[in-house]
Amino acid sequence: MAQTDTRKKDEVLFVGIDLGTSRSSISAGNGKREWIESFVGWPKDFIAMQVVGKPVLFGSEALQNRLSLDICRPLEHGVIKEGINRNDEAVKEIIRHLIELAGPASGQKIHAVVGVPADTLKVNKLAIRKAVTEFVHSLMVVTEPFAVAYGMNLLNNSMVIDIGAGTADFCIMHGSIPSEEDQKTVLTAGDYIDEQLFSYLSEKYPNSKFNKNMVRQFKEQYSFVRDTPEEIRVEIPVDGKPVMHDIKNEIKRACESILPALTETTAEMIARFDPEFQVKIKNNIVLAGGGSLIRGLRDHLQDALKEYGPCKVSCVEDPLFAGSDGALKLAQDMPSKYWEPL
């Protein structure tokens, strides 16, 4: 096959990119795997420029310096927020940065496969294409859950649920390209949990001062559904004094807020599928994305689907890179005749 051609390997660097609302990752054919938080920040003014010492900052570095930056999280619901001042620019910066991280040798051509949410409106794919075009020599866009499925070799009779920050994407694989009906996107995902958690905490501790970013960190550290033996206590300032707060119940309520949509959509998509293969699919459900790290989520889904017959749910091993690894594999397998110069 094409990728065994060693000469070609040297000329071309294959990369798989997973553009996410919260984190974006890249896997490259040269073995590099990198991720950044999808934040971009530009210094607000001359003084800020002096302080941070760079014209543009990314990810956690941008977050740490956010008081002196115009900060931008350009992908909402996994889609480029168009028309708002610097979002297009921010996406481009992220992609440029990711590709720099992958470290292509000079003169190497870059062939990229980019994963995007399984949204029905093709509009988004076009916008993302536009943003990536500048930095690569050839490009394909695929849906994120499909990239995960391809990477894990789940091409037949399986279902991938990719729970990201902006969207949860569902995709049924049946040995061919998933059509529109085989894919679905719901908007109750990580960001939704953040919003819920924020409102629950504001309700319970009206005098405590916290922001969205702190709430997100609490979630990422402690998220669980059902039950957990540990106590969850975090430090939040009240009138400037750090005070320990018990947030276990709020975390649980917030995380569980996405469960109904998740189980319903899963059940509905399976029910819609060819009855002969439904059992096979139920035994081959894979959770991916940051949401798959929520403790107890896998067990909950498995139990919730029990009433529809036996089923087996598993989680991907490395949710951060599952999408980009799959995209990379796809890029490497793609016959060279399909790569067209842009």
Binding site: L155, N156, S176, D333
Partner: protein, 348 residues
């Protein structure tokens, strides 16, 4: 042995999938399936055939503007033909005048009745995807997106109750839409559609309100748009008889003028190919059934490649929603009778 066989099968599946991805990506950027691959194996026979067809079309047609482009020839058969009336076939002026001069003073405004509930109807949906652009953009998606944006914009005023016939991608027969408007006690009904003209690379904007159609082409269009209704003939007659409501007609016409004006003025700024086809009367079922001022706006033209690309950007859809909003507000706010018509006449 068995494993070797299954492995071979898996490889085949893989190759199919890779090919599928390639084709899907071509579609996204608006190229025809396999065009690039086929070019390498272009047989001289085919070139000759195409040249012949081109020659015949040019010779027989005589009218070069009307000769369909080659690329569009293949698709023209499958796509709903949306006829383009020439200026001679537009509703003639006296016809219109008779209709306009008949306008009594608007009842709703005489009694100072305001607009509270606005019903926005995104055309098509579900299994009925409406027309489809060459890059695969479906009318139902764009119409729904614009409808949602329009709703969000109108909601900001806080004084309207804005309802949508469909807020997701579901199949909804026309009579159901009408019922929804009735149930919601809507004061205005705005239906959003996109045009398709297979053989002209232009973008036309037009707005319809209910009335006996003045030209046969519009009649055809109405027949197509009405195809989804589930009204029987008997019911239909009954509804038509209810049409004694002059009020609804006047108001609809004004609303239509107001929307058309705003849409066209703004779109023409961006797309030099935009043509103003004005306000027309047509017997669309959605317009008839609604008992309140109702218009159907064909806000854009999916057959125009440039326009289709534009429609795929959020900014453009937001602009269209803004234009519709401006049209509706114009109608509601500056409401002495005949305002829309006067303004429209001035502009011309």
């Amino acid at each position: 042995m068995i494993s070797a066989f299954s492995r071979k099968k898996e490889l085949k599946v893989r190759q199919e999938i890779l090919k599928g991805i390639y084709e899907e990506n071509l579609r996204i950027i608006g190229k025809k399936k396999g065009v690039l691959l086929r070019q390498r194996t272009f047989s001289p026979n085919r070139v000759l055939l195409i040249l012949c067809i081109a020659a015949i079309v040019v010779l027989a047609g005589g009218n070069y503007l009307d000769a369909p482009l080659l690329a569009e020839k293949q698709t023209a058969g499958e796509i709903v033909m949306r006829p383009l009336p020439s200026s001679a076939e537009l509703p003639n002026a006296s016809d219109f005048k008779a209709f306009i001069t008949n306008a009594d003073v608007s009842v709703s405004r005489t009694f100072g009745l305001g607009v509270k509930t606005i019903m926005i109807d995104a055309g098509h949906g579900g299994v009925d995807s409406g027309t489809r652009g060459k890059m695969g953009t479906a009318e139902k998606d764009i119409a729904l997106d614009i409808a949602k944006r329009l709703k969000a914009r109108l909601d900001k005023y806080g004084r309207f109750h804005v309802v949508m016939t469909r807020s997701e991608d579901v199949t909804l027969p026309l009579n159901k839409r009408v019922e929804l408007a009735r149930e919601a006690k809507a004061d205005l009904f705005v239906s959003i559609h996109l045009n398709y003209l297979p053989s002209k690379p232009i973008n036309i904007i037009e707005t319809y309100y209910f009335g006996p159609s003045a030209d046969s082409k519009t009649q055809e269009l109405a027949e197509q748009e009405n195809a989804g209704s589930q009204y029987g003939l008997g019911e239909f007659k009954e509804v038509i008889e209810k049409l004694g409501q002059r009020l609804k007609l006047q108001e609809s016409r004004e609303l239509a003028y107001s929307i058309q004006k705003n849409l066209f003025v703004n779109i023409a700024k961006e797309n030099g190919n935009a043509y103003n086809f004005g306000v027309k009367r047509a017997p669309f079922v959605v317009l008839l059934g609604a008992e309140v001022p109702a218009v159907l706006a064909e806000v854009s033209c999916l057959s125009n490649r440039q326009e289709e690309k534009q429609l795929n950007t959020e900014a453009h859809r937001e602009n269209i929603a803004h234009d519709l909003e401006a049209g509706i507000l114009d109608y509601i706010n500056k409401g002495e009778a005949g305002y829309g018509a006067d303004r429209y006449a001035e502009k011309r």
